[in-house]
C-alpha cells in the first residue's frame, strides 16, 4: 500500500482509470476466452463460471449469487423463489433418529423430500430410500426400494436410508475440488456451482446417499418450492452431485425437516444432539440404538432405534 495521499473527489487518478480499464478489459477478454464453455455446458453463464468458492464469497458476492439463482430459476422454471443462505447455528449439532419398530415403509418421507427439495419429477428423485428387507436381515445390498404392496408386509422390515451426516465423512475426503464439506452443525453440504460432477463422492459413500443429476431437473412451475437454500434445495444444475442436507433451509431456522413432519408413524425424531434436554439424547440414553455400518468408522449423526 502506498502511503501517498490521493486527491479525493471529482477526477479519478490516472492509475485508477488504467486499473479499471484493465479489469474491465480483462474480464471481457476472459469472458470471451471461456465462451466455448457456454456451448459445452448449456445454461452455464460466464457469471457462474467465474464465481468463487462458497467459502471465499464475501457477503456482497453471496448476495449476487443468490440473486442470480433467483433470476435463473424464474427464467428457466417460471417460478419466483427466495434463495437464502442461513448459517449454521452456534451450539447446534444436528442428528436424526429413526424408530424402526414404528417405520412401516409407507414412503411418505420419500415423497416429502421429493417435493420439499425440488427434485426431478421425471425420476421421482429423493434423498431418501426406504429399503424393504427380510425380517431380521440387515443386508442393505439385498434391500428393495420399489416394493408396491400394502405395508408393513409379512416377514419384512423397513429401513429408511439417507445421508448419515457422518462425522468422518468418506465422501468429502475424496472430492478433488473441495466442492463438498462438513459444516460446524454437522451437515455435509455441496456447493453445486463448484462441483465438477466426477462422482467420486458417490462412489465413496457406503450408504449410497449421494445422487448425480443425470439431467436437468424438470419441475412444473406451480410445484417449485420457493423457499430455497443455496446449499440445500435450490434447483440443482445438470451434472452435479446432490445429497440430503437435513433440510438446512428449514432446520437452521429452527423448523423440523420435511421428512420428519411427513412421517405418519412418528418414527422420525430430529433435533440438536448437543442439547442434553433434547429428545435425541433421551433416545440415545434409553433405547436400543445402532448406526449403519458402524465398522467402517464413518461416525454417522444418524441413528436407528427400536422400542423396548
Amino acid at each position: 500500500m502506498s502511503t501517498r495521499t490521493k486527491p479525493e473527489g471529482k477526477r479519478p487518478t490516472r492509475r485508477a482509470v488504467v486499473k479499471g480499464a484493465a479489469v474491465t478489459l480483462g474480464a471481457a477478454a476472459f469472458a470471451k476466452a471461456v465462451s466455448p464453455v457456454a456451448e459445452f455446458a448449456e445454461g452455464l453463464t460466464v457469471e457462474q463460471f467465474l464465481r468463487r468458492h462458497y467459502k471465499e464469497l464475501s457477503e456482497d458476492d453471496k448476495r449476487e449469487v443468490l440473486a442470480r439463482i433467483e433470476r435463473d430459476t424464474e427464467a428457466e422454471y417460471g417460478a419466483a423463489c427466495k434463495v437464502a443462505d442461513p448459517p449454521p447455528l452456534p451450539g447446534v449439532k444436528f442428528a436424526y433418529a429413526i424408530n424402526l419398530s414404528k417405520c412401516n415403509g409407507n414412503g411418505k418421507c420419500v415423497e416429502a423430500c421429493h417435493r420439499e427439495n425440488n427434485h426431478d419429477r421425471d425420476t421421482n428423485q429423493s434423498y431418501i430410500r426406504v429399503l424393504e428387507l427380510e425380517k431380521g436381515s440387515m443386508d442393505l445390498e439385498k434391500g428393495n426400494t420399489t416394493y408396491d404392496h400394502a405395508v408393513p408386509a409379512e416377514g419384512k422390515d423397513y429401513l429408511p436410508v439417507q445421508c448419515q451426516q457422518c462425522d468422518a465423512p468418506p465422501c468429502t475426503a475424496v472430492c478433488p475440488v473441495e466442492a463438498t464439506w462438513k459444516e460446524p452443525d454437522g451437515i455435509v453440504v455441496v456447493d453445486y456451482d463448484w462441483c465438477i460432477g466426477c462422482r467420486y463422492c458417490e462412489a465413496a459413500c457406503p450408504y449410497h446417499a449421494r445422487r448425480f443429476n443425470w439431467k436437468k431437473p424438470t419441475i412444473p412451475a406451480d410445484e417449485v418450492n420457493p423457499d430455497q437454500g443455496l446449499l440445500s434445495n435450490r434447483i440443482r444444475p445438470q451434472g452435479v452431485m446432490e445429497k440430503c442436507h437435513f433440510c438446512l433451509h428449514r432446520t437452521r431456522e429452527g423448523r423440523l425437516p420435511a421428512c420428519a413432519e411427513a412421517c405418519p408413524t412418528g418414527a422420525r425424531v430430529f433435533g440438536n444432539v448437543a442439547d442434553p434436554a433434547s429428545e435425541l439424547r433421551w433416545i440415545l440414553a434409553n433405547k436400543r440404538v445402532f448406526v449403519l455400518k458402524e465398522e467402517l468408522g464413518t461416525k454417522p449423526s444418524f441413528f436407528y432405534f427400536f422400542d423396548d
Binding site: 420419500v110 400394502a150 429452527g254 423448523r255 405418519p264 412418528g266 440438536n272 433405547k287 432405534f305 422400542d307
Partner: protein, 198 residues
C-alpha cells in the same frame, strides 16, 4: 365421582399398569425445559364425540351426544362386546385386547370416560386413559420418541404441535393400519427397465 372407585369392573385388560393413581404429568418433557419461549401444543379431542343419527324422519347429518340416548337407558353391565348388543353400535368393530365397552366408557355419564379405578376422564384428556395401560408408549411420548411432531425442533424460535394417542390410533381398533405406498422412486440400479437409456 370418586364414589365409583369401588365399582367392580368386568374387564380383562392384558396389560395392567399397576393399581392406584397412574396419572402422570401430561406436559411433554421438552416443554418443561428452561428457556422455552414457544408452546408445545398437544392435539386433543375437542370434546365428547357426536353420534350420527341415521333414522327416518331425522334430517340427514344430524348428530347427537352419547348421553342423548344413554341418559334414558340404564347400562347393562353384562354386555361386554358389541356382539352382545341387540341394537345400536352393532357394526362397531372392536379389536382392543379383551377390553369391554365399560373398561373405558363411564356408565354413569356417557359423555366422558373413566379410568380403571373409576375416576372420570374427559374425552379431551383421553391420553390419561390410554396411558394407564400403555405406560411405555406414554413414557416415550413424553420424551418425544413416540407420536408425530410438526413445527419447530427449536422452541426458542417457534411452536411445535404433537399428536396424541387418538390422532393415529382408533381407540376401538388401535393397531396402526396398514398403508399403501403412494410414491416410489424410479431406481436406476434396482429396476434397470424403469429408465430407458436414450
Amino acid at each position: 365421582m370418586a364414589v365409583l372407585a369401588g365399582v367392580p369392573l368386568a374387564i380383562g385388560l392384558s396389560a395392567w399398569s399397576g393399581g392406584g393413581s397412574v396419572r402422570a404429568d401430561e406436559v411433554p418433557a421438552e416443554a418443561a425445559a428452561a428457556g422455552v419461549r414457544f408452546p408445545v401444543r398437544v392435539n386433543r379431542p375437542s370434546g365428547p364425540p357426536r353420534v350420527l343419527v341415521d333414522t327416518e324422519g331425522v334430517p340427514p347429518g344430524t348428530t347427537v351426544a352419547c348421553s342423548t340416548c344413554h341418559a334414558t337407558r340404564p347400562p347393562d353391565r353384562t354386555n361386554a362386546r358389541t356382539d352382545d348388543l341387540d341394537e345400536f353400535h352393532q357394526g362397531l368393530v372392536v379389536r382392543h385386547g379383551d377390553s369391554t365397552c365399560l373398561a373405558c366408557h363411564d356408565p354413569t355419564d356417557y359423555d366422558r370416560l373413566r379410568r380403571a379405578d373409576g375416576r372420570p376422564v374427559a374425552f379431551e384428556d383421553v391420553m390419561d386413559l390410554c396411558g394407564q395401560c400403555h405406560g411405555p408408549q406414554r413414557r416415550d411420548w413424553r420424551h418425544g420418541a413416540h407420536g408425530g411432531t410438526t413445527g419447530y425442533w427449536d422452541l426458542t424460535r417457534g411452536p411445535r404441535t404433537r399428536n396424541h394417542c387418538v390422532d393415529c390410533h382408533d381407540p376401538h381398533a388401535p393397531a396402526f393400519p396398514r398403508m399403501r405406498p403412494t410414491f416410489k422412486p424410479i431406481d436406476r440400479f434396482l429396476t434397470p427397465d424403469a429408465e430407458s437409456h436414450e
